[in-house]
């Protein structure tokens, strides 16, 4: 078991969650409650990573952030950093790639709160921010949590994007999925199989937990 790679993967997943939690809540809620021009276009764009091959996204990220031109050059000149072949670049790629896994379940969670309940909250004298905090978030919480769990598990298994945008740099971008690939190419079947099996078990646990959570929440809504 490549503990360094596993730790890196866990850190990558957690970091992705730190960003996706607020992004998911904001966008999920916005899409659940507002109608506006261009809404279906926005939803389509946000859903792209569901069907887009990771290499396509990886390719575009490389193009945009390569430090030889454009945005990448600007970043290199002004901040001395890049967003390719390092952990930060992976976090960015991971955030983008997980957007639909975060936003869609949260959107559903917010949308499943009956409008009347939010209106009743307003009639109780609650400001919109209070309604969000006291009513919407608690009721949407199971959906939010399961979105976060899915994102975590999904990030843990990311491969194509990491390979393209991150390379295979130990303790920087060598995530556990890459490490498995690496071990296979080093003819180290034992390591590869241990890591693969662990990820398999973890994925199963994640999915079961998510299902259990969503069943529990459907009991909470009268």
């Amino acid at each position: 078991m490549d503990w360094q790679a596993l730790t890196l993967s866990v850190k990558l997943s957690l970091m992705t969650l730190v960003f996706l939690l607020p992004i998911g809540i904001v966008f999920g809620r916005w899409l659940a409650y507002r109608r506006f021009i261009g809404k279906s276009l926005l939803q389509t764009v946000l859903a792209l990573p569901l069907v887009l091959p990771p290499t396509v996204l990886g390719y575009y990220l490389l193009v945009v952030f390569s430090p030889n031109q454009g945005l990448g050059l600007w970043l290199a000149n002004n901040f001395g950093t890049t967003l390719v072949f390092n952990f930060e670049g992976l976090v960015l790629a991971s955030i983008i790639f997980n957007l639909p896994f975060a936003i869609q379940p949260m959107q559903r969670a917010f949308a499943s709160i009956p409008n009347e309940i939010r209106e009743a909250a307003a009639c109780c004298g609650m400001k919109p921010s209070t309604v969000l905090w006291k009513i919407e978030l608690p009721l949407a919480w199971p959906g939010i949590v399961s979105a976060m769990i899915m994102c975590f598990a999904h990030t843990l298994g990311e491969f194509g994007i990491v390979l393209m945008v991150g390379g295979n740099i130990p303790d920087e971008t060598q995530t556990i999925a890459i490490s498995i690939y690496d071990r296979v190419q080093a003819f180290d079947d034992q390591s590869a199989s241990i890591m693969s099996f662990s990820l398999l078990i973890f994925s199963m646990l994640t999915i079961s937990f998510t299902y259990w959570l969503s069943e529990r929440s459907s009991h909470n809504h009268a």
Partner: protein, 374 residues
């Protein structure tokens, strides 16, 4: 203008057409009645601030909540309204007590629990503070919703078909509770319902809505017995509606004479309809008098008719009769009488009987084509 009333003027064409003007005094219960889609709930939501009509003026107890021409619009959470939703909209993740406390934003934290408990007591739900809404019956949920609405110390209490989701027995109980609660409330109360009987039981005044317009306001009794048009009569579920022709007006006897299917009927003096014009007329079934063989009365002499009972239904102490009257062309009159009277007079299907249409009960309305053959 008394300060503790509510004035509502709404007007818009798009989306849901509306054109209403309403007032409700403090302590008065006004029912908005009408078929679904007539705009009743929209009006209620506009009052609450959950819906913003294009042109509106809403003033409640001196506060202007909306004034379109001056760009004034107060958000729902800034208005003090108590709204009881049709499905109660209790917060499922909070206990009964917490639900009520959410509306006690104006009170200091330390007093909220006490005040919430007091409200619970008012709606006869002591002991249920720690229950969750899904463990409550429909009637209990409704009471919690009412308590929560009152916790807001509202300037107007709005009820959106609050009894439609419960069974009849519970409903009767809740009616009584609402009526007794009313006495303690110094605010206008607006109730939306499609149930005419409910409005008759609970309301001081009703406003009959049809396609976004108010057709008539008045006491339930008055609107049902003196509808301004055949449409109103139909919406008030008046069964005895017919057409006739004005024959004459007699100011001396305070009588108007109409011809109906070859018969001449004497009705109360209603000179606004010119002679020889067609009119619609209706009579509330309470004003149809059955000729009782055991106890004849003076009323028997007014507009007497003979007929055969062609439909006979008994229900909860009443007999509902449909009588086919002998006229030029067959026509039916509906009436209800107490069951014991029906039995004593040995009434049933195919029995012939006499009946009278009380003169004061015949109400004339402008002519409009009626759907059934009448």
């Amino acid at each position: 203008m008394p300060d503790s009333s509510i004035i509502i003027k709404l007007q818009q064409q798009q989306a849901i057409p509306l054109n209403v003007e309403l007032q409700c005094q403090s302590g008065e219960l006004l029912a908005l009645v009408g078929p679904s889609g007539s705009g009743k709930t929209t009006i209620l939501r506009a009052i609450a601030g959950l819906y913003q009509p294009q042109n509106a003026y809403i003033e409640c107890q001196g506060e202007v909540w909306q004034h379109s021409s001056q760009q004034v619009f107060r958000q729902a959470y800034q208005r003090h309204v108590g709204l009881v939703f049709q499905n109660y909209a209790l917060f499922p993740h909070m206990t009964v007590l917490e639900n009520i406390q959410q509306a006690l934003t104006d009170s200091p934290q330390s007093q909220r629990r006490e005040q919430a408990l007091a409200l619970l007591k008012k709606v006869h739900l002591e002991g249920l503070e720690l229950r969750y809404p899904k463990k409550l019956s429909g009637g209990q949920q409704q009471r919690v919703a009412v308590a929560r609405a009152l916790a807001r110390r509202p300037k107007v209490l709005l009820l959106d078909e609050p009894f439609s989701a419960v069974d009849q027995v519970t409903r009767r109980k809740l009616y009584r509770e609402l009526l007794s609660l009313r006495k303690l409330l110094a605010m206008p109360i607006i109730l939306v319902t499609h149930d005419l009987e409910e409005s008759a039981l609970l309301a001081d005044r009703i406003a009959l809505l049809h396609k976004g317009e108010i057709l008539q306001t008045g006491t339930p009794e008055h609107v049902s017995s003196h509808p301004q048009s055949a449409t109103v009569a139909r919406l008030m579920d008046q069964q005895n509606m017919f057409t006739a022709q004005i024959l004459a007006h007699n100011v001396a006897t305070q009588t108007t004479l109409i011809r109906w299917r070859g018969l001449e009927l004497q009705v109360s003096y209603q000179p606004k309809f010119p002679v020889n014009t067609r009119v619609c007329w209706m009579i509330h079934s309470a004003n149809v008098l059955l000729h009782r063989r055991d106890r004849p009365s003076n009323g028997d002499k007014e507009n007497p008719l003979q007929g055969k009972i062609i439909e006979y239904m008994e229900s909860s102490g009443l007999a509902q009769l449909l009588i086919e009257v002998d006229t030029e062309l067959k026509v039916n009159i509906a009436l209800n009488i107490p069951l014991h009277v029906s039995k004593r007079n040995k009434l049933g299907l195919n029995v012939t009987t006499g009946l009278s249409l009380l003169k004061e009960g015949i109400h004339l309305m402008p002519y409009q084509p009626l759907r059934r053959d009448s």
